[in-house]
Symmetry: C2
Subunit: 398 residues, 2 copies
């Protein structure tokens, strides 16, 4: 292990401050988050490819293009999506005001929103919120910040690690909010990660793309790509030490491992907190020809509605897993596929395997379900995570 | 209109006989269906592309390759899927016995199964059922046949038309069973269509591919492609008249129109009878650059879980439709997209449109919901159908 898990979230990294305040966009609870680096920082982001992207994603994309940013401003309760030119003006105004109050150029400021689609932002509330947040920026607001981005989440979600790179002890921490949608037109997964590592934008982008591919792109709550999904990574070099200039630099590997761990932990926390869910499901695919094949199969199984309803029902249902594997679009030979649920092999050599019904019932009704699929075609593997689908999910989303 | 809808199903076509009997695969109700042409018939089929295809689909594929078939034997209650070499032997035995009893070569016999995955067929029951069905073949068993293929369907599903081709009055009718899955490991959509038209295999395949693309490939109940999905079309020329030898032959167009109508009607009957569903949803996409774009968008919306749960909840939720359109993978400009629900425009020119809340509530709570999406990019269109997702659906599938 190249890193050590520690308590906290974004503010484990030196010279970052944050705030979470209530400004009235949501009926109750805090709904405005600000995150700021006390010194210049490099920045990278991954942004939703949904064609109905929200206004703030355009502002963030433009401001992060040069690889640097110091301030992030985010509201919850309103997604500022499908809001046309007025929505874009609101997102730009959020950036301007946050930039002014934190003393950075507007291009150094990133904007996110999450919540209801198709309603204009109440800018009077938002402006008051941004002013209050700027006034409250502190080193102690780690959890408050994580709370201020929540929508349907039942708990704030944070994760942090320490590792050595460039001759120094580096800190890296993040917070996220869930992908599930609940009230009419709610949207979005957001994630913010801060580190005091010194690193150039290009290796940062490479590391973030890799980590997101192995984490947020591996979870499925409702199978739907949202209008606002954004992951932002800021690195301010406050820990000192040698700067990472490329993936070949010493320390890059440790950074990559730490970043992947934190994003995977946060992604799993989202799946565990899926709307109305009662069970955490891990789908592990091995024996694939390529990583893409492995990921496609794992993703197909976690997105298969009938696998998710069976998980809720506590049914030891390998048949639906087989149907999902077969429908994944991956070229495979069913005669070589092996399917095990909770360690009990249920399908092998093209047909059902006899198994102990009592053990199977125990496995199927546990709080965590592990589905293992070996494709018998190669040596690549992938893991995806999801939650069960419950009648509560449908009622929450009605 | 080139055709007239008439009562009945497969047996509106001359010189076809059928039977539906109970043989004990299902706990109750009839579960073995036989369909037979009293004279040589050309045949075409579309078969699931799921890699975990059931054993009977391999037998059917092999026997239909030469473009002719006279007997179809089908059981419900057991899918004969994921059953290995023994399952294949069972499917072959079903074909052999049905061939022997109806006096045709085994290559003239097609086999389908639908029901539970991963359990071997009880061949003693099946053999008795095939014998009884062969003994009961008649011109009067149209509805009994449609009942014998049902699994979770609540009603038998039939449709028939008459049209003129080759100088004669032609009859074409079909029966289908649903795509929803319910009991542990249940699977499959099946459809059988008979006509007394004289037609060669090649134009028949072309017409069937077109019709299935515009019907069964446009419905979504649970979004999942099953292991046994099969559509079979038999044509025995009993009506006399000129033979259709190519899509350029006189009468082909009328045949295509009739076939598309019948398959669309049957597909819609499946969506209306979706498991635990309470509402029929039509998604009509216009203004697309290509048909593929239009179909992809319509399909993305009908497969979007949160659109289906909102439909159940009676929520006028255009935001989720927008998110689904954006996630469809189709290249489009949100500023040109228009979204209307039940005739009420909700999104236009990149932003929400004010609408009458009372009218919207009325539209959203009706038994049928129509979502219209114009992409503003061209002149192609496509329509898909689905049902709402209800807590009952989740409970049925647990």
């Amino acid at each position: 292990m190249k890193f050590t898990q520690i308590d906290g979230g974004v503010l484990v990294a030196e010279d970052f401050v944050a705030a979470g305040v209530a400004c009235g966009v949501k009926v109750e609870g805090s709904d405005l988050m600000m995150l700021h680096s006390l010194r210049p920082a490099t920045a990278a982001a991954t942004i939703t490819t949904n064609r109905f992207r929200a206004a703030p994603t355009y502002v963030t994309e433009r401001h992060i293009a040069d690889g640097s940013a110091r301030t992030v401003v985010t509201n919850s309760g309103n997604a500022n999506a499908a809001t046309g030119t007025q929505g874009l003006a609101s997102a730009e105004r959020m950036a301007e005001l946050a930039a002014e109050l934190t003393g950075v150029p507007v291009e150094e400021t990133l904007v996110c929103s999450t919540g209801r689609i198709g309603v204009q932002l109440p800018m009077d509330c938002i402006e008051v919120g941004i002013r209050n947040a700027a006034d409250s920026l502190s080193r102690d607001a780690d959890e408050e910040a994580a709370r201020a981005i929540m929508t349907t989440d039942t708990v704030p979600k944070r994760c942090a690690v320490e590792f050595d790179a460039g001759g120094e002890r580096i800190h890296l921490g993040g917070m996220t909010k869930g992908a599930g949608m609940i009230c009419p037109n709610m949207a979005t997964m957001l994630c913010f990660i801060c580190t005091d590592l010194a690193i150039d934008p290009e290796p940062m982008r490479i590391a973030l793309r890799e980590a997101v591919g192995l984490s947020f792109n591996c979870i499925s709550v409702d199978g739907d790509m949202s209008t606002n999904d954004t992951v932002i990574l800021l690195a301010n070099g406050a820990a000192g030490g040698n700067r990472i200039e490329s993936p070949a630099s010493p320390g890059f590997e440790a950074f990559q491992a730490a970043l992947t761990f934190v994003t995977q932990d946060l992604a799993q926390k989202i799946a565990r907190d899926g709307e109305g869910s009662s069970k955490f499901v891990t789908v592990h695919v091995t024996g694939a020809k390529t990583y893409e094949d492995a990921h496609s199969v794992a993703r197909a199984v976690t997105n298969y509605t009938l696998v998710k309803t069976a998980a809720w029902g506590g049914d030891f249902n390998w048949g639906r897993t087989a149907a999902a594997v077969g429908a994944s679009g991956v070229d495979l030979d069913p005669a070589k596929v092996e399917i095990a649920i909770g360690g009990i092999t249920a399908f092998s050599a093209g047909e059902a395997v006899q198994y102990d019904l009592q053990k199977a019932a125990k496995v199927a009704t546990a709080d965590e379900l592990e589905i293992a699929i070996d494709l018998g075609a190669g040596s690549e593997s992938a893991t995806c995570w999801t939650c069960d689908m419950t009648p509560q999910f449908v009622e929450l989303n009605a």
